[in-house]
């Protein structure tokens, strides 16, 4: 774990991988660490709006993070129609049939590691590294809301329509973002996720 000061009131904590970043974020929330924003990402957690950066840094270095599976958040099932325009391409990359690709995706226990790109856009981990797929060479100008896609080994769900370069497996009708709720994001960091195939 490496703590890098950022500006006057923030510290960026660098760890080895996304699982550790998720574990660090979960531990910070469990402890109620004082910061205006705690932002997990692929290999870091940013603590911003920290009253005493030096004190937090000292404290962080004393934390021991749980090894392995840290998923303890709520479980959300994402009903997904697997009829996306890139399903065939992903199945080819994985050297399987489309049915097998769908089976692989729905059989994977996932965890929201972080949000980014757009409010409520969740980066879900769980697929092994060998299932990583490249982004599209030319991003689509419009990806419909609810689209379920892959980039690298991450699975993401577009909360609203936007441009995007993820390879699209299908679509869900689940509401992913509602600013009028106490918890506006359905897939907030720390949420466990299962994609469930639905038809029609």
């Amino acid at each position: 774990m490496r703590c890098i000061p950022v500006g006057e009131d923030a510290v960026l904590v660098e760890v080895d991988d996304t699982a550790q970043a998720s574990a660090l974020y979960a531990e910070a929330r469990r402890r109620g660490t004082e910061a205006v924003d705690i932002v997990p990402a692929a290999r870091t957690v940013l603590f911003r709006g920290v009253p005493d950066v030096a004190a937090l840094t000292g404290e962080l270095l004393g934390w021991s993070l749980p090894e392995g599976d840290v998923a303890s958040g709520p479980l959300v099932e994402v009903p997904t129609r697997y009829d996306g325009p890139d399903l065939a391409a992903v199945a080819r990359l994985w050297d399987m049939t489309e049915r097998e690709a769908i089976g692989t995706h729905t059989a994977t226990d996932m965890l929201v590691a972080f949000c980014g790109f757009a409010p409520g856009f969740a980066y879900c981990t769980g697929l092994p590294a060998e299932r990583a797929v490249p982004r599209l060479d030319t991003p689509r100008t419009r990806v419909p809301a609810g689209s379920v896609g892959l980039a690298g080994a991450f699975t993401g769900v577009y909360p609203t329509a936007s441009p995007g370069g993820w390879q699209l497996l299908g679509r869900t009708g689940l509401t992913l973002w509602d600013a009028s709720r106490d918890q506006p994001a359905t897939l907030a960091p720390g949420t466990r996720v299962r994609f469930v195939e639905v038809h029609g």
Partner: protein, 288 residues
């Protein structure tokens, strides 16, 4: 009687702003809020509002508004002409509007953004605890449009007399202090020197997301992709072009280009007032 300000002319871009919505960055929500916060706070003080009341933030070309009832307003920020039904009024002073009068903030003479506060505050609905328009994510009210009726709240305080605070005049050349890091080690040794010894020009592409600059390129020593990481207000990010940008209030919550340094909070409001072509220099400061 309903208190309304009707938009006669929104100018190039006028948005509702308050102190923003920090605390949601983990969900990908930008903090947003008034870019020149001292100017917005002064405008609120002048009309007797609490500091968190929503004001209007204009961009270069001003705004024109019609008052449905008598109300007190104040205009701060950029140096711009203020008129009521065509008659000149002072900047940074409470201005009493009668029912039916029109307030016009003209094109700025120096600086970029004017702030218009009205006693009672702009009372559009909140979203995630704030009335701010976030131009990046689209959260908050849309930018002002012709004919739009803006609800105005009930005044809670009394308008002040002329405020004692001196209104800083926006300058066409500024020096921004910054602290190096978190990714200064992703750049060649001369990059920091280039940043601190060069003059950069404010690009016309600048907006509420970031102050985009053009000038000598900042060269990276590590060409590989940086996994996306959390960003802070004031971060000096260097994208593939090598041209730095300073992230302002509507910045994305994460980014995949290395951040060379972070502008100190005190120097951010001046970034809000830089016009295309205005000169920016950087001065390194280190923690005590």
């Amino acid at each position: 009687m309903t208190r309304l300000l009707t938009v006669l002319d929104p100018g190039p871009l006028t948005t509702v702003q308050d102190r923003g919505r920090p605390g949601w960055a983990h969900l990908g929500v930008p903090r947003s809020g008034a870019l020149d916060l001292p100017a917005a706070s002064l405008a609120n003080r002048l009309v007797g509002n609490p500091d968190d009341a929503a004001v209007l933030e204009t961009t270069l070309g001003g705004v024109s508004l019609h008052a449905s009832t008598a109300m007190t307003v104040a205009v701060t920020g950029a140096d711009a002409p203020v008129t009521v039904d065509g008659r000149s009024r002072a900047l940074a002073e409470p201005v009493a509007l009668h029912a039916g009068q029109a307030l016009t903030v003209g094109r700025t003479r120096s600086g970029l953004r004017s702030y218009v506060a009205v006693a009672g505050g702009i009372a559009v609905p909140t979203e995630l605890g704030s009335r701010s328009t976030d131009v990046l994510s689209g959260i908050g009210p849309a930018a002002l449009s012709v004919g739009q009726e803006l609800p105005v709240g009930e005044p809670v305080g009394r308008p002040h007399g002329v405020d004692v605070s001196v209104v800083p005049r926006p300058r066409p050349s500024v020096t921004l202090r910054f602290r190096p890091g978190p990714r200064a080690d992703w750049f060649t040794a001369p990059a920091l020197e280039t940043l601190t010894r060069s003059a950069y020009a404010t690009s016309p592409d600048s907006n509420r997301v970031g102050l985009r600059l053009t000038g000598p390129e900042l060269e990276r020593s590590r060409p590989e992709e940086l996994p996306s990481e959390g960003l802070v207000l004031g971060a000096i990010q260097v994208p593939a072009s090598g041209q730095p940008l300073v992230f302002l209030n509507d910045h994305p919550t994460t980014g995949g280009y290395p951040v060379l340094g972070v502008v100190v909070a005190h120097d951010l409001p001046v970034c809000a007032q830089l016009r295309p072509g205005d000169q920016v220099r950087f001065r390194r400061v280190d923690p005590d």
